[in-house]
């Protein structure tokens, strides 16, 4: 392995260890000592990469939020029709969490316990989904009547569903909840019939 490769590998191990520990013990219960032990690196390596625990955690948030939003975006962009785009985006989001439940727990559930900076990034993450939902307004014949808060409300509802499963230690349960979550998000824009049909499509695929 090249020297930069080794350095990247160490940084990655530190972030993975941080995700696991924060998921298991919470942000407050996680220390640099437990991180370096779990990552099998020395303190010097830790401090070469990060100033302190908070910077390390924030780097984890940035990485995880970045990967998640780009996966969602890719899945969304592959589809043509907006209801299909939303269904695909939600599917990609849920799969990302099922594949990495510790990162999900560390970065979604625990972010609110990790101080104002983390809370601000979490809030910013939620805002990234608004532009994906907004085009749905144009499919609603009475779009002028839709509440301004609709996108925030729906994003909060999806996050709630995810967090409930993560807290229950049942990330896989998200797969079963995907069809009705799709229906939940689409209904206000396209009505129950279209939303339910999209949910059935997701259930049968």
């Amino acid at each position: 392995m090249s020297r930069t490769g080794a350095a990247e590998d160490q940084r990655r191990r530190i972030l993975e260890a941080t995700a696991d520990l924060v998921a298991e013990q919470g942000y407050q219960g996680t220390t640099i000592e437990t991180i370096v032990r779990r990552a099998k690196v020395g303190y010097a390596t830790f401090y070469k990469n990060f100033e302190d625990k908070q910077q390390c955690y924030l780097a984890l948030l940035d990485a995880a939020y970045g990967v998640t939003t780009s996966r969602v975006r890719q899945a969304y962009d592959r589809e043509q029709e907006w209801p299909d785009q939303v269904a695909a985006g939600l599917g990609a989001l849920f799969e990302q969490i099922v594949a990495h439940p510790n990162i999900g727990r560390a970065c979604l559930v625990e972010a609110l316990t990790a101080g104002p900076e983390a809370v601000a990034r979490h809030e910013e993450l939620l805002k990234r989904f608004t532009p994906l939902l907004k085009p749905g307004r144009e499919l609603n014949p009475r779009q002028a009547e839709l509440p301004d808060t609709l996108e925030d409300t729906l994003t909060g509802g999806v996050l709630w569903v995810i967090n409930q499963r993560l807290i229950a230690g049942d990330a896989e349960g998200l797969r079963g909840l995907l069809p009705e979550t799709i229906e939940f998000v689409l209904r206000p824009y396209v009505g129950e019939q279209v939303a339910a049909r999209e949910a059935e499509l997701a259930a049968s695929s």
Binding site: T113, E123, R142, E145, P147, G156, L159, V161, A196
Partner: protein, 219 residues
């Protein structure tokens, strides 16, 4: 934060019994925790902050609570019980299910708007105060699911709504309220009533009727 919001102190008699004094001290500690958490946030708050705000000794704190988490849970329960009572009362005079739902939403939003410190405690800090508190928070939110499920009887459509609908709905509304409070906009929570009304009622009454009722509650 006014102490009466956390339940009345023991009724005035001639001299409290030992238990009544203890009860009183417990309530002062709960009120003290709410004040201290509003100032410092749950994770940074110390027993000293709490006992200072409550004007009781550390010894008394530890006679009542094992630590700050237990004290926080007690405070959370007091607030939740208070909201439960407010909602029960408001719902009683509503003529039908849709108006019960609106009355409940109105009451909760009005209470949280009038008590921004308590709103922060039970919506924001409770989500960030560690697993045990978070579990209590989720359980408290899910209490809203059964009364909402009664809306299913109002549906004209024969198809039944997916089972998780109410859970997603209450989670969505609580998240929205929590974000407003976290942004320091607790005072504006009551402005959300029309949006809440429309969002809550739409799956059961259909978008037209939900919108009509939402307009009727707009100021």
């Amino acid at each position: 934060m006014p102490e009466e919001e956390l339940g009345p102190l023991p009724a005035g008699r001639h001299g409290f019994s030992r238990e009544q004094v203890a009860h009183n001290q417990r309530e002062r500690l709960i009120a003290g925790l709410a004040t201290a958490v509003a100032e410092h946030g749950y994770n940074a708050v110390t027993i000293t902050h709490i006992t200072k705000a409550a004007a009781v000794s550390r010894r008394v704190f530890y006679e009542n609570f094992e630590g700050k988490e237990e004290c926080f849970l007690a405070a959370f329960e007091v607030v939740v019980a208070h909201i439960r009572d407010l909602v029960a009362e408001a719902v009683e005079s509503a003529p039908d299910w849709p108006h019960q739902a609106i009355a409940a939403a109105r009451e909760v939003l009005a209470f949280l708007a009038s008590e921004p410190d308590l709103a922060r405690l039970c919506l924001v800090e409770a989500q960030g105060a560690g697993p045990q508190v978070a579990a209590r928070f989720h359980a408290a939110v899910r209490e809203l699911v059964p009364p909402l499920e009664r809306g299913r009887e109002e549906r004209a459509d024969e198809r039944s709504l997916p089972p998780n609908t109410e859970d997603s709905t209450v989670g969505a509304l609580v998240s929205l309220a929590a974000r407003k409070v976290a942004a320091g906009e607790a005072a504006k929570l009551e402005e959300l009533l029309p949006d809440f009304t429309q969002f809550i009622l739409s799956p059961y009454l259909g978008p037209d009727e939900a919108e009509r009722l939402a307009r009727s509650v707009a100021v």
